[in-house]
Symmetry: C2
Subunit: 182 residues, 2 copies
DNA sequence: GTCTATAGGTGGATAGAC
DNA sequence: GTCTATCCACCTATAGAC
């Protein structure tokens, strides 16, 4: 982890929020600079090309997300509690009307470098691996873990369309109940 | 169904493909006109504003999709066959590297009119209602239909990221097997 | 209905002063 | 590091000739 200036950190933070809400083609350096009270050229000082910013935003996002997953595992709670914590990671984005960064980037492949698309895939793989491990400890087949992840991803998208968080909650509460009842 | 000129029909067809692959902010009238061998101004003759084109693309897409769902129902095949036909409707997009139009539009809410966002929601509702009816006829609770739809939506997104159609097939084949085995 | 021409705006990006 | 100034490409959209 290299240390960052406050300015750089703020740019990444705003960049993350903008990409999550509007996608890479829906935000501009102008918007970030306005929000920060600096000029566009200053953003270019830290991230010469837009793809540089996107790549860094994704890097930080993936690191943070992986850390969150590790933290859940480290708490050593039971299957149900761990899964709820996982769901909560996705719910948080929806509370501000956004979806997961990588869900958004997955829809914008054509506008991204090969390296970025690769990292998006790794994010999905990381999620899947984590879930598979959790499910296997519970004696559940890995297919159920894959299924669970796809359901969360889809529920996110459908929830975003309506803005109805109770749909998201209900769907995943029910799914969790079915998994633990057997 | 109003009758359309061939030009108008072609614009809608290309518009649909472009939005599905790049989103509303990722395509331009210039691209459509180039692809058709006409001028930008001609597109504006049919669809003065970009939102007009998007709205029409969505209208036609939803009509066609609904017709496909009705056709599946009308064939009167069993639960498993009907569900496979449903999955196939989503798989078709992935074969050309695209996702469902409404999945894409759901991520671009901020750039769309209220009416368009409403239609996207209706598309999801239409899918859910159709699935619920199918599931209920099979004696399955409606929660399983909601779950199924979210899974398809999510699997689509994850598949788009990797381009690996066999992931999509495997995931949904397994899910279908679990549903019919009980 | 399709065209040329153009307006008016915003995008990403860079050079060079401070 | 941050700024002003600017470039050029592209966007949506419109006016008006044919």
């Amino acid at each position: 982890m290299k240390k960052m200036s406050e300015t750089e950190e703020k740019i990444i933070q705003l960049g993350t929020a903008f990409i999550q809400s509007r996608g890479v083609n829906g935000f501009s350096y102008a918007e970030i600079s306005t929000a920060m009270g600096i000029r566009k050229a200053s953003i270019h000082y830290y991230f010469p090309k837009k793809q540089d910013l996107i790549a860094r935003v994704l890097e930080v996002y993936n690191q943070d997300f992986k850390a969150s997953l590790d933290a859940i595992r480290a708490r050593g709670e039971d299957f149900s509690q761990s899964l709820e914590a996982f769901i909560q990671l996705y719910r948080r984005n929806l509370e501000s009307g956004n979806i997961c960064l990588c869900s958004m980037l997955a829809t914008e492949q054509y506008a991204l470098t090969e390296a970025i698309n690769q990292s998006v895939q790794e994010f999905f793989q990381c999620n899947t691996d984590w879930l598979k491990s959790l499910f296997e400890d519970e004696g559940l087949v890995s297919q159920l873990a894959e299924d669970f992840f796809a359901t969360v991803q889809g529920a996110q998208l459908i929830t975003k369309a309506s803005g109805d968080l109770s749909y998201f909650d209900q769907l995943l509460t029910d799914k969790l109940a079915r998994l633990t009842k057997k």
